[in-house]
């Protein structure tokens, strides 16, 4: 059964086409969800989930097809405002908060408190926003703060509260949990259920199957921009097969063998930013996990090790030799080389309009040049080999803009850039964030393989499960210090969470 013929649908889209330039994001796609259910929308990166959501909420115009909201056809009218009036609220994957506005302004932008003469009362903005935050139990967020200064997790929470606070009849959440720590995921689930029970239609997307399984009443699977199936029960392996057209090879790799390589990266008393003295020794062949609640200094640690943020004090030795790292170039050149793969490939990694080749070779231009001239033959060869090694899905790596690749392939290009540097120390910061299951598993294999080849890997993930299953050893950060070291494969995410919470810290970052 392709489309749900249910007449009680709160939202229904049928036969929707939408392309961007040459890319077909949606082709003849259909989707329907009922009032009073939590409906998950699943699919690989680039399957068209976000595009469908944008069509539903009127942000993107469909090239073809119809959309009905609460039984009323909305034609091809575009504009989220009109949908909002119908009781629809959306939290987007690329957050839609204005970075220069305060949290309060962001939350109350569409319906600000009025004072005398009908003017916006700037005095009442903060108290009203505070009241909302309190109502949703997240009053540790300062509503007078400028949004740009918030952590990703806090921004995600603000985005969610803004949507929840409208008490919508249709609530759409695009990857709401990707940046959320586990505790906040539970918080969100509670609110989703409450709204569902009040008769709201809740739609969400996620790449974490466990969430889909536990939260959703029904699941719709998308592949290549079309509807594949809608069911109320579906197993993970079957879902992966439906999403990707292939079955998952294995789960997490085996990390029981404890490596005994030489010291690859020794960090002594690193301070600065949120870090208050971190020391550890990462060995060749080891995958070392950095765990902890969100915002305990993980990001600062990675950025400082890579020279992208200044440290206040501390010593770093690479392969036993002390090094000074002031900027990424120093890190790349340090000893056996350090590489940093960021989580936000759009902002920190890729040059979207430039070719796959240009993106892959950016960090290693000097290796393949003579007198400043790029040796094109050598470059072409290197690009070809990494494309096949990582299985990047492209036939024209020399010219195809990287922005036209699917998310998973984009992430592989970014990984490939750093593999080309042949660095022996890899800093992987949440590289599977928002990556689909199949690609994730490719990454797991790759991490294990790299470690097997003697590379040292420092790994952070917002999915604690990944840290637990991929790492030989885990350091738990709390308030800028190492709060616990869990030696040996941890296996169970609960152990990390427990260690993070042992001394319940205040809600701050």
């Amino acid at each position: 059964m392709a489309t749900d013929p249910d007449l009680t649908s709160a939202v229904r889209a049928s036969g929707v086409d939408r392309s961007f330039g040459g890319v077909h994001a949606l082709r003849d796609a259909s989707f329907a969800a009922r009032a009073g259910e939590i409906h998950a929308l699943a699919g690989e990166n680039g399957a068209g989930k976000s595009t469908m959501i944008k069509v539903l909420c009127g942000l993107v115009r469909a090239d073809r097809g119809t959309v009905e909201i609460l039984g009323e056809p909305v034609g091809r009218v575009v504009g989220p405002a009109a949908r909002q009036r119908l009781g629809m609220a959306t939290a987007f994957q690329e957050l839609s908060l204005m970075p220069d506005l305060t949290v309060a302004e962001n939350m109350l932008l569409q319906n600000p408190p009025r004072g005398r003469l009908g003017l916006v009362s700037r005095r009442r903005l903060v108290p009203e926003a505070d009241a909302l935050l309190r109502r949703f139990g997240v009053d540790h967020i300062d509503s007078a703060a400028v949004t740009a200064g918030l952590s990703v997790a806090h921004r995600q929470i603000v985005e969610l509260v803004r949507a929840l606070a409208t008490e919508p009849r249709i609530l759409i959440l695009d990857e709401p949990t990707a940046a959320l720590p586990d505790r906040e995921v539970a918080w969100l689930a509670e609110h989703m259920r409450r709204l569902r029970d009040q008769g709201c239609c809740v739609i969400f997307t996620s790449h974490r199957w466990r969430e889909i399984e536990t939260f959703a009443d029904r699941v719709t699977v998308f592949r290549n921009g079309t509807h594949v199936t809608t069911r109320s029960r579906i197993t993970e392996s079957e879902a992966v097969r439906l999403m990707s057209g292939r079955s998952l090879a294995g789960g997490y790799p085996d990390v029981t063998a404890i490596p005994v390589g030489d010291s690859a990266l020794r960090v002594t008393d690193l301070r600065g930013g949120t870090l208050r003295g971190v020391s550890f020794d990462l060995r060749a062949g080891e995958v070392l996990g950095i765990g902890g609640l969100a915002g305990q200094g993980q990001r600062d640690l990675f950025l400082m090790l890579f020279g992208a943020r200044r440290s206040a004090a501390g010593r770093i030795a690479v392969a036993g030799r002390p090094v000074t790292i002031r900027r990424p170039r120093d890190a790349i050149a340090a000893g056996v080389g350090i590489a940093y793969v960021p989580e936000d490939r759009k902002a920190e990694g890729l040059l979207m309009p430039m070719s796959i080749r240009d993106n892959l070779s950016l960090a290693t231009l000097d290796h393949r040049s003579r007198l400043g001239f790029i040796r094109r033959g050598a470059e072409r060869g290197a690009v070809r080999s990494i494309v096949s090694q990582l299985g990047i899905g492209t036939r024209r790596p020399q010219t195809q803009p990287v922005g036209t690749l699917s998310g998973g392939n984009q992430q592989k290009v970014l990984m490939g850039r750093w593999l080309l540097t042949d660095a022996d120390v890899l800093l992987l910061f949440d590289v599977t964030r928002g990556v689909d299951a199949a690609t994730k598993h490719d990454f797991y294999r790759l991490v294990a393989e790299l470690a097997g080849r003697g590379k040292a890997v420092l790994l952070y993930s917002s999915e604690t499960e990944e840290i637990a299953r991929l790492c030989h050893r885990v350091l738990v950060l709390r308030e800028g210090r190492i709060a616990a070291e869990l030696a040996g494969p941890v296996g169970d995410a609960e152990r990390i969470v427990a260690a993070s919470l042992r001394e319940v810290p205040g809600d701050r970052d």
Binding site: L59, G372, F373
Partner: protein, 329 residues
């Protein structure tokens, strides 16, 4: 058509990137204006007329080269008018019309351009002064220094003519081709090679597309930026040298028309003002287009107000044709 043939064609078409397409558009516009010109004004596209226009376009082409380099990383250089003028004054007052002093004089003039460009670059890259402010302020600084130090060009040595060899380089011929065009071709070759074949060029586009990502990939963002502004200053100086050679002597206000012209040439040439996209062939076409429009309007004796209006409308039309940003719904 055979399958392979079709495949090859397809491959070729796919590989035509957005930026290359824009170059084709820019060239098409230049040709179209010349074609329109011949229809409404016979003789407009005659060989000698085109040659005259291309020589004039080369001056815009020089400032356009510098402007393009900084625009590629999302910057802008508003100091061009007085860098150009200062270089022209330095050239004549230091060469004193003597051939023997010419190399040093050219070096000095380019050096002034480089020094000012370097200062601009340092201000933008290291002190984080917005490019608009830094270069606008620098324009004023240079104007004051040029006027003050040359006493308004009334000194005896200021009367010097440009040494003859340099004059011949701009107004003379080499194997039947105006020498100035060979110079322009040289500039085009330099800029194009720099941008497409070198690691430096690759880094320029990377910075223009995503400075943060480039920085995290080890690109020396500041060093590249400073280099680009330095080159921009040198190209403005080169334009000053060429213009003073063309006219024979320096004058005040020589650079005034070239601020907006340089920006217009860059955008009509298909360079994205947001950075990261564009190449010099387009800017050359843009320079020719600008000169051709003005020349045609003047040839038709359109009054000043009409010229301004039509000039603006033509540029708007060009922008609406291929200068639009991507739709976001």
């Amino acid at each position: 058509m055979t399958d392979t043939g079709r495949m090859l064609r397809r491959r070729w078409f796919d590989d035509v990137t957005a930026s290359t397409r824009l170059v084709v558009y820019a060239c098409a516009v230049a040709v179209a204006i010349l074609a329109v010109g011949t229809v409404v004004h016979p003789g407009f596209a005659s060989a000698s007329s085109v040659r005259a226009m291309v020589i004039l376009a080369s001056f815009i082409g020089f400032v356009g080269a510098g402007q393009m380099l900084v625009v590629l990383v999302g910057g802008i250089d508003l100091s061009m008018p007085w860098v150009l003028n200062a270089a022209a004054i330095v050239l004549t007052t230091s060469s004193l019309g003597q051939v023997g002093r010419l190399p040093a004089a050219i070096g000095l003039a380019l050096g002034v351009g480089a020094a000012v460009g370097f200062a601009n670059g340092m201000g933008v890259a290291w002190l984080n002064v917005p490019a608009v402010v830094m270069t606008l302020g620098m324009n004023g600084v240079l104007q004051g220094l040029s006027l003050g130090l040359s006493k308004g060009l009334t000194c005896g040595s200021c009367a010097s003519y440009v040494p003859e060899p340099l004059r011949r380089l701009v107004v003379g011929q080499l194997a039947g081709i105006p020498a100035e065009l060979l110079v322009w071709a040289g500039v085009a070759l330099f800029v194009s090679v720099l941008l497409t074949l070198t690691t430096f060029g690759r880094r320029v586009y990377a910075i223009g597309n995503n400075p943060r990502a480039a920085f995290l990939a080890g690109v020396p963002v500041r060093a590249v930026t400073v280099t680009l502004y330095t080159l921009s200053g040198m190209f403005a100086a080169l334009a000053g040298i060429a213009l003073v050679a063309y006219g024979g002597q320096a004058s005040l206000g020589l650079g005034d028309p070239y601020l907006f012209e340089s920006i217009a040439a860059v955008v009509v040439g298909g360079v994205s003002i947001l950075g990261g996209r564009g190449n010099y062939i387009g800017v050359m076409a843009g320079s020719v287009t600008l000169v051709a429009i003005v020349t045609l309007l003047q040839a038709k004796q359109v009054p000043e107000y009409g010229r301004n209006i039509i000039y603006g409308l033509v540029i708007l039309t060009i922008l609406l044709t291929y200068g639009r940003e991507r739709a976001n719904d």
